[in-house]
Structures are given as structure tokens and as C-alpha cells.
């Protein structure tokens, strides 16, 4: 059996995200991958210098899901960004899914080997149906200042991104 097109065509940054999409599909929970980008830091001119794109949005649950499965350094960074996100957007429902959460899921579903295969790696975008494809080297958390611009997947996603991250919309002048 081949990977469903909507999964195969989604540019997941990490195999854990691809696996999560399959779990959500299995339980009939609709998901969108990185549909929205939220500015979280502006320079003195009001230009966005840092933003946060949660990995998943689950429209039925009105929940953003951010997965972090690897290095503690990146977890701390994500925790900081998540705190900032919650300060600026208190109405957002965001959940951070840690490595231990993903491990517990894999344990529950008898896929512990998958977790252990990913642990410490740079994140292979693995398909359960084929040969794993190596992700590019470098940090897994790609929400870096000035680079938070994930590929566009759908018109609805483009509309929300334009509404929430329009560079013409100046934010409060905040320095890190």
C-alpha cells in the first residue's frame, strides 16, 4: 500500500511529524501542516524578526500541535517561543508534544523501534511504506528569524498566513 497523497505530498520536516499525521488520519482527526505563522518578535522598526509556525492545526479541535522530539537545546528554544506565543496570542490553543509524549505513543502502538530509530538522528522523513529518505542536515527547528516561511499547501492556508503574518502589518517594537 502506498502512502496517501495528502501525507506523501506534505513536506514534513521530521519523521515524527509524518507519523503523527498518520495517527491523526487513523482516528479521523483532520489536520493541516504548518498552516499558520505567528509573529512573536519585532524590531524597533516594527518588522517581524521572529515567528512561530506550529506543526499542525487540528480544525475539529481548534488546536495547534507543536512536536519536538529531539535535542534538549531545541526544546528550550521551543519552550521560550511557546511562552511568547501564549503571551501574545492568549486565545490560541497550543500543545507542545515532547519527545517523551511521542515515545509513549510509539510504545502504546508497538512502534517503539521507530522512536528509537529517530532518537538522536537528524530526523529522517521515514515512510512506513518505503525506504526512509534522509532529511537535510542542520537544525530541525526551522522557525528561525527571517526564515519562518514554510511551503504553501492550500489556499485556505495562504489566506490565514497572509492575515496573520502580513509583513506590511507592523507589530509592537520589541527587542530581544
Amino acid at each position: 500500500m502506498s502512502e496517501p497523497a495528502h501525507v506523501a505530498n506534505t513536506p514534513f520536516a521530521h519523521a515524527s511529524e509524518a507519523e503523527m499525521s498518520r495517527i491523526l488520519d487513523f482516528y479521523a482527526v483532520r489536520w493541516e501542516y504548518e498552516p499558520d505563522t505567528f509573529p512573536i518578535l519585532w524590531n524597533l522598526d516594527g518588522d517581524v524578526v521572529e515567528s512561530f509556525s506550529p506543526d499542525f492545526y487540528l480544525p475539529d479541535l481548534d488546536l495547534y500541535l507543536e512536536m519536538t522530539t529531539l535535542r534538549q537545546r531545541l526544546v528550550r528554544k521551543k519552550n521560550r517561543k511557546l511562552r511568547r506565543l501564549r503571551e501574545l496570542y492568549p486565545d490560541l490553543n497550543v500543545k507542545l508534544f515532547y519527545a517523551r509524549d511521542f515515545r509513549a505513543l510509539m510504545l502504546k502502538y508497538g512502534k517503539l523501534a521507530l522512536f528509537e530509530g529517530l532518537s538522536g538522528s537528524s530526523g529522517q522523513v521515514a515512510s512506513p511504506y518505503g525506504v526512509p529518505e534522509l532529511a537535510t542536515d542542520g537544525p530541525l527547528d526551522l522557525d528561525l528569524p527571517g526564515t519562518a516561511d514554510p511551503p504553501v499547501a492550500s489556499p485556505s492556508r495562504r489566506r490565514r498566513r497572509a492575515a496573520k503574518a502580513d509583513p506590511a502589518t507592523k507589530g509592537p517594537a520589541i527587542l530581544s
Binding site: M1, P4, R22, I23, L24, D25, F26, Y27, A28, V29, L61, L63, L65, K95, F97, R100, D101, A104, L105, L107, K108, Y109, G110, K111, L112, A113, P128
Partner: protein, 194 residues
């Protein structure tokens, strides 16, 4: 083949003793009996993990009770590879239309399975649909689901016993415990026939 003695030795920590579980089940049964007094209730249990809890809970309830069983495929099982979607492996054997239904779960963690079941059962038009779980692991929750009856809120650990399995083993333990970490790979290898 693993012996029962080995199963006990595989448990690193007992979270809930047989006596604690028994007392809690009696307490839940009394609460449910009071809440549904004068009415008939249908307990719907989800196989396989909730079987011991269902068997004990129904005997702790002293109002008229109907029972029914369901089983759904779990992610990671063979059904995953064939369809990629959850499947009802065993459906209800009787209609629940206009019935007072109480879902009896062994444990709620992510809430994904229960969320699916609730949507499925609501489509069968029960008079009411409530949830009773022996164990709740809220730290793991993805889908927020209001739980009406909770036995124990437990820490974020993988637990076995009293119906809960790992690799289809440990369900027959009379307590709820946490496996030693080194057991996971060994049990999984045996379950896979390696």
C-alpha cells in the same frame, strides 16, 4: 512462553494495588447507581483492556444494567497497513437508541480512540452518553473530553495490569503497575515472534 512469575518480576513499580482498585470500583458503582437511580443504564465496554473493569463495575452497580462490547482496531496493528483508518472490529450487538449509555474505559490518555468512539456512538442516538474511566492520564491528552467518572488520575507512565497490556501480556495482573524499562524490547520481540 513467559511464565506468570516472570510477569510479576517484570513490574518495576505497583501504582495501584488490588485493594485500592477494588475500593475505587465500589465507589464508582455507588456513584453511578445514585446518579442513574430509577433508570436503566447500558454499559458499553471497549475491548480488550476494559474487560476486568467492566466485569467488576457492573457488579458494583445496583440498578438495572445492560452491557455491550465494542472493539476497534488500534493504530500500529495489522489493520493500519491495510486501510490506514480505524475500523470497528466488533460493533454493538443491540440498539442504544434512546438508551442511557455509559462508556466504560480502562484508560484515557490521548483521547483519540475515545473521541472516535463518541462520534460513532452519538450517531446511534442514545438518550445520553457519558464516560467512565478507571484511569486518566491527562498529561497525555490531545483531545479534551469531559470525563464523568474517573477512578484514578495517574502520572505520565506506561502502565500494565488489570486489563492493560504490553504486547498483549500483563492483562491478567490484579494490580496496575509500571514495567521495568528493559522489558519493553524483550516483550515486543516475543510478541513479534522473533
Amino acid at each position: 512462553m513467559r511464565e506468570l512469575a516472570n510477569l510479576h518480576e517484570d513490574v518495576g513499580e505497583i501504582l495501584l494495588t488490588e485493594e485500592e482498585i477494588s475500593a475505587k470500583v465500589r465507589e464508582l458503582g455507588a456513584r453511578i447507581s445514585a446518579d442513574y437511580a430509577g433508570r436503566r443504564i447500558t454499559l458499553v465496554s471497549v475491548l480488550k483492556g476494559s474487560l476486568p473493569f467492566m466485569a467488576d463495575l457492573m457488579r458494583a452497580i445496583d440498578i438495572p444494567v445492560r452491557i455491550d462490547l465494542m472493539e476497534v482496531s488500534s493504530y500500529g496493528g495489522s489493520a493500519t497497513e491495510s486501510s490506514g483508518l480505524v475500523r470497528i472490529l466488533k460493533d454493538l450487538s443491540a440498539s442504544i437508541a434512546d438508551e442511557e449509555v455509559l462508556i466504560v474505559e480502562d484508560i484515557i490518555d490521548t483521547g483519540l480512540t475515545l473521541n472516535y468512539l463518541i462520534r460513532y456512538l452519538r450517531g446511534k442516538a442514545p438518550a445520553s452518553l457519558r464516560i467512565c474511566t478507571l484511569l486518566d492520564k491527562p498529561a497525555r491528552r490531545l483531545v479534551e473530553i469531559p470525563v464523568d467518572y474517573t477512578g484514578f488520575t495517574i502520572p505520565d507512565q506506561f502502565v500494565v495490569g488489570y486489563g492493560l497490556d504490553y504486547g498483549e501480556l500483563y492483562r491478567n495482573l490484579r494490580y496496575v503497575g509500571v514495567l521495568k524499562p528493559e522489558v519493553y524490547s524483550e516483550v515486543r520481540a516475543e510478541a513479534d515472534g522473533e
